[in-house]
Amino acid sequence: MDLYINGTFSISAFESLQKQMADNTGTFTCIEPDYKQIIDPRLLRRMSRIMRMGLASAIKTLEVANVQTPQAVITATGLGCLDDTGNFLVKMCDPENRMMNPTAFIQSIHNTVGGQIAMHLKSNCYNNTFTQDVLSFEHALLDTIMLLEEGAVESVLLGGIDELTELKHELSSRLNKAQKESAGYYGQGEGSAFFSISAVPSPVKLETLILSQDAKQTDITDYISNQLDLTENTLIFTGKCGGNRDEAYKHIEEIIKPTATIEYKKYCGDYPTSSSFAVWLACVVLQQKVIFTVMPQPKQIIIYHAYPYRPHTLIHLSVC
């Protein structure tokens, strides 16, 4: 079944191709839109930041795709609603001031964004939330593909979302230090990227998603070697994040060189669902809204993720 991305919207740290660096705190923070233009201000007041980012991206995506109500809403998040989780935990563990707020608890749950979107759409749609650290978005994309292939639904709203908080930054930095892997690291990031996906033809086609099942990543290397024509105008996005974790890419680099390659985390930072940002960037690049001089008119983009001790993943998009 041929599947297409009919619309997308993202909130991220991305400004332009010229800006490839973290800000002065060493992190990539989202440039947020004026939410009042997108979400009812009365609802907005009670929404956490991650909910605003997610709901706004969802609404804009459906607008772009011209879809009223998708029949499925599938979200991915590596760490969930961290701000509310952190707030509730910190208050709970402070014996002097144990004032716990039910709203923080309610909104701490991973499916908060997905549930809010369904509620906003007043839809009785299928609703699921995947959380498998760096693979969360790919798994949500897999569910999307499966639902459409099963014929269970005609259109899916899919999104990847993670937020960066001060607490997360502080604790991750401590963790990175303890694990001695900070040298060259691009920095932590955050973002929200949503997609409307269906079998209705659109400029961007979702060719394939591969989740490698063996340690040698045979599925992916076979696909690149035997089914892809890298001599076609091809751009490769890798999920390199700087530092020693990037060693995992060594094997694949032999196979893909000398194809033009972009390290997309230089624009959005490192976070569990950053591959959703990569898919958004691929969509805008394939539609010539953003142009990389190394490959000004790509016909296809391969998003490749390699992680130590985790299955590697490949997402192949093309322009129709």
Partner: protein, 395 residues
């Protein structure tokens, strides 16, 4: 492609195996203790259904490191039981582990925060390494050698039910041949305090579907099904316990923490699951209710049942009156109970029920009753209006 249940594992406050849980259910022995005083940092004292073993004791039973979060420890016991039953060698097939959890490694994270809140430089940072929900599944999958595909769902209290539905689809589509699917959640101060701030906890033993119900008791546990494709069961002559004949997810789309009074989401989840199996509502013999014992849930679920089962109301009961609400694990635990009910051709008692909810006149089963059961539904509903129903059929 049909998908069969070829093994099960469950670990709750009423028992550490399928046999142990079933014996307690039939004997009407619940696992809810009167006080939560052993848990630090709580605002109040509530009945809880905590498994009476320490992390070290559970780790020793499972043969895994005691440093694992409790959610992983509970999960690995149930996953090992589910995996062992069939004798299948997972490494020979495309085998996956698909699990639901809401708290992930929160118990260990809490321990870190107790130190951290006193001094920002203190606390063992290694205690938060396994915080993420996905880490729990990763640890368990490695232990049972179901590594070809590992994922985690967190849709609050319907997580495990969604995991079973997703795993079934993974097998139907040929992507996996075998999957261990269900969920696990440990009791944490985070969730106890959270449900307390929402005023959803009963300070006495919970009374699902009773007119005087005041709220839920939290529990902990894990429950997993071993799901196997028709072809692999045939090749290996596996003992088939049941077929996963239907499943459906629907959003209630009413409120973040409450279901609509008329139960739109619950109605649609049950209706779609029944439709998928190609049967009618009259064919359902027993429903293992979500039945949390909160005023809102039980009314909504009850109304959905009355609307859907217009000719004949099946036997219904909530086993949360034994295990407490095991949150993200409940769909897994109750899937095991539902299949057990089918295998034993018996309903499961709903404890402490006396007076039906006004306006519904629904009478849950108060005794184990022998019935000719062919199809059993298991309901799970979560925050965000996430409703999932699973349908198991006799083979």
């Amino acid at each position: 492609m049909r998908v069969f249940v070829a093994g099960m594992g469950v670990f709750t406050a009423i028992g550490e195996s399928c046999a142990g849980n079933m014996a307690a259910l039939l004997d009407k022995k619940h696992g809810i203790r009167a006080s939560s005083c052993e848990i630090d940092n709580l605002m109040g004292d509530f009945p809880i259904a905590k498994i009476p073993y320490t992390n070290s004791e559970i780790a020793q039973k499972a043969g895994v490191p005691p440093s694992w979060p409790r959610t992983a420890l509970l999960g690995v016991i149930a996953a090992q039981e589910a995996s062992a039953a069939s004798g299948l060698d997972f490494t020979k097939y495309r085998s996956g582990f698909i699990s639901g959890t809401t708290v992930g490694g929160m118990d260990s994270t809490e321990n870190f925060f107790y130190s951290y809140s006193k001094n920002k430089n203190s606390g063992h940072i290694s205690q938060i390494v396994n915080h993420e929900c996905g880490r729990i599944s990763h640890l368990i999958a490695g232990n049972i050698h179901a590594n070809d595909f590992v994922t985690t769902l967190n849709t609050a209290c319907s997580s495990a039910a969604n995991a079973i539905a997703f795993a079934t689809r993974m097998i139907k589509s040929g992507r996996l041949e075998i999957a261990v699917a269900g969920g696990t959640d440990a009791i944490t101060a985070f969730t106890l305090n959270g449900f307390n701030t929402l005023l959803l906890l009963d300070d006495e033993l919970c009374r699902p579907f009773d007119a005087r119900r005041k709220g839920l008791n939290l529990g902990e546990g894990a429950g997993y099904l071993l799901l196997v494709s028709e072809e692999i069961t045939r090749q290996n002559n596996c003992l088939i316990l049941a077929e996963v004949s239907g499943y459906a997810n629907a959003s209630d789309s009413f409120h973040q923490t409450a279901l609509s009074d008329q139960g739109n989401g619950p109605y649609l989840a049950m209706e779609r699951a029944i439709k998928m199996a190609g049967i009618t509502a009259n064919d359902i013999g027993y429903i293992n209710l979500h039945g949390t014992a909160t005023p809102n849930n039980d009314l909504s679920e009850g109304n959905a049942i009355l609307r859907l089962f217009t000719e004949k109301i099946p036997a219904v009961s909530s086993t949360k009156s034994y295990t407490g609400h095991t949150l993200g694990a409940s769909g897994g635990v109750e899937a095991v109970y539902s299949v057990s009910a089918l295998l034993n051709q018996t309903t499961l008692p709903n404890l402490r029920f006396e007076i039906p909810m006004p306006g519904t006149e629904l009478f849950p089963e108060t005794d184990a009753r022998n019935l000719d059961l062919k199809h059993v539904l298991s309901n799970s509903f979560g925050f965000g209006g996430n409703c999932c129903s699973l349908l198991f059929s006799k083979v």
